[in-house]
């Protein structure tokens, strides 16, 4: 009888890899096609942004926070202004609160569509990527019209917003929402009826409710695992406090929770609908009045300089909870302590669990599942010599065998 030995291979993915959009390294220990262990190394783009912020004044830090992330460039300023307002006891005027909510929801629409395109690309379904991203351009153009920029909108200010909405802009948002209501219906039809999409995402990267709780998952990732966790519902702020937002969870859509990549798609698709509703509600109830609590920025900085205290600011970003902590000590006009927690900081924790048992081909989907958004810098990946090298012919033979086996299984 022949003895067989099982080898496990270590398969490094990243920091630079076609399946990843940003630098991070996933080292998957594979046995055949199965992943038996996975480890993550982050920090390839750590820029020490908190360290920089603690040396600037609060308004400079606000713009710095906007540059943490290019996709959710409203989420970090949102959490930051909330944290500063809580620390110094300032309140934004109602109109400003509504405008903030509108911009944040527009961002959610573009971010979710971006993810839907990325996940289609990860599974090799590129026409779907082009089509979804074409649809995304409308909201990007709208954001440019409202704020002056496609990304890094520079819209928020401590104690309000910097630009008002006039009749023309409100009309543009309304027209845009009509477009997205229809476009999202089309997206739902495609994503939910396509057999390839379902085959590649059902039961891939399964996350249980228990794991989501223990690993501190947030946002759509946690909601796909059945957790009704959404800051807009649990601790509503700004205009969300005037309406009743409810967390979108798969059990309300399909009646069951799998916690897989398909469920997270459903959550994101239905959240686009929810965002459209929230924006329309905000436009209906948009209160009149000023948009800044303190229009004189020198005065604002002096208030901050005289304040002593700490605050926590939170925002439900497209990827989950963004949380900022600031402390002012009454000696300088910027924070003496600033801590940023982005949603991917928590959500990357789940990779170690969901990758175990996955196939190699599913790694990009499991990795893309949480919509990772690394704020991380690059160094060289070291490849050590050693291990066993497979001759090309043997690899080709194995590939052919597998293709034939799958063909037999599928064709019956």
């Amino acid at each position: 009888m022949m003895m067989t030995t099982t080898y496990t291979y270590s398969l490094p993915i990243g920091p630079i890899h076609p399946a990843l959009k940003e630098p991070i390294r996933v080292v998957a220990e594979v046995e055949g096609e199965r992943v038996v262990r996975a480890d993550v190394k982050r920090g390839f783009a750590h820029r020490g942004i908190e360290f920089m912020g603690m040396k600037r004044n609060a308004i400079q830090t606000l713009y710095l926070s906007e540059r943490i992330c290019g996709i959710c460039s409203i989420s970090h300023p949102y959490a930051f202004v909330k944290a500063v307002e809580n620390a110094i006891g300032m309140e934004a005027p109602p109109r400003a609160q509504y405008i903030r909510t509108i911009i944040a929801e527009l961002e959610r629409i573009h971010s979710h569509i971006l993810w839907l395109g990325v996940i289609a690309h990860e599974m090799g379904f590129d026409p779907l990527l082009y089509w979804t991203w074409k649809g995304r351009e409308m909201v990007m153009d709208l954001l440019e019209y409202l704020t002056g920029n496609r990304v890094n909108y520079a819209m928020y200010m401590i104690g309000g917003v910097r630009r008002d909405l006039n009749e023309k802009k409100i009309r543009a948002i309304k027209e845009n929402m009509n477009y997205y209501r229809q476009f999202n219906q089309e997206m739902k039809d495609v994503f939910m009826s396509d057999p390839t999409y379902k085959a590649r995402t059902r039961r891939v990267s399964l996350l249980t409710r228990k794991d989501a709780l223990e690993l501190c998952a947030v946002g759509p990732t946690a909601r796909a695992a059945g957790l009704r966790m959404d800051i807009r519902q649990d601790q509503p702020y700004d205009a969300y406090a005037d309406m009743d937002v409810r967390a979108v969870v798969p059990q309300d859509i399909t009646g069951e929770v799998m916690g897989d990549a398909y469920d997270v798609t459903l959550v994101r698709l239905y959240e686009i609908d929810q965002s459209i509703e929230i924006i329309e509600r905000c436009l209906e109830d948009l209160p009149p009045g000023p948009i800044l609590a303190e229009p004189n920025l020198i005065k604002l900085l002096m208030t901050i300089k005289r304040s002593e205290g700490e605050g926590v600011g939170r925002h439900e970003a497209p990827r989950g909870e963004v949380m900022h902590y600031v402390r002012f000590d009454g000696t300088r006009d910027g924070p003496v302590a600033w801590k940023v927690k982005a949603p991917s900081y928590n959500n990357i924790n789940i990779w170690g669990r969901v990758l175990v048992g996955a196939e190699i081909a599913d790694i990009p989907i499991a990795v893309g599942y949480i919509d990772p958004c690394m704020c991380c810098n690059d160094r060289v990946a070291e490849v050590r010599r050693g291990g066993r090298e497979l001759p090309y012919e043997e690899v080709r033979r194995k590939c052919r065998e597998k293709t034939m086996r799958i063909k037999r299984e599928v064709m019956g």
């Binding site: 223990e214 690993l215 302590a337 160094r379």
Partner: protein
């Protein structure tokens, strides 16, 4: 409810509590943020108290060099999943710089490992019971005894490249 339970569980280990009401929206409905200063001995008891209301969500773990000692800030949220019920609970306490050791939360909350690894490398706090002691954001060949967030001689001022 949280405040009473914490007072009962911690006793003299609880230094002071401040409840911050934050009004939001045009109707000014408010939510609560509870700031709790405790002594370091009471930390695990305080976290265990939060487990009475379900699994607490660890939002932020951060720290600060206060000169004489280090201050750690743990931000939790409880009563989530219920509309408008969530309460933010912030625990803060000081630990001496000469012996910066706190118990790890990882046996209770495995996800806290990421947060603890970050504070460990940035501020030089030792977490008793933390299994994964590798660097999180800093490179693996980071010099020992250098902590970017410290404000004393162990900080990184001499490693910063200044550009004009």
């Amino acid at each position: 409810m949280v405040v009473e339970d914490l007072k009962k569980a911690l006793g003299p280990l609880l230094e002071d509590v401040r409840i911050q009401d934050i009004p939001e929206g045009s109707k000014r409905r408010s939510y609560q943020c509870v700031w709790v200063n405790i002594r370091k001995e009471g930390f695990l008891t305080a976290v265990r108290t939060l487990f009475r209301y379900g699994f607490p969500h660890l939002g932020i773990l951060t720290g600060e060099d206060m000169g004489e000692d280090l201050r750690l800030v743990y931000i939790f949220k409880v009563f989530y999943e219920e509309p408008r019920e969530e309460v933010t609970v912030v625990f803060s306490f000081h630990i001496p710089k000469l012996e910066p050791v706190v118990p790890s939360l990882t046996p209770m909350i495995p996800g806290a490992s990421t947060n603890e690894r970050e504070i460990r490398e940035m501020l030089g706090v030792e977490f008793r019971g933390l299994k994964d002691k590798r660097h999180l954001f800093l490179p693996e060949d980071w010099p020992e005894g250098k902590y970017p967030w410290r404000k004393d001689e162990t900080n990184v001022e001499d490693m910063v490249k200044r550009t004009r």
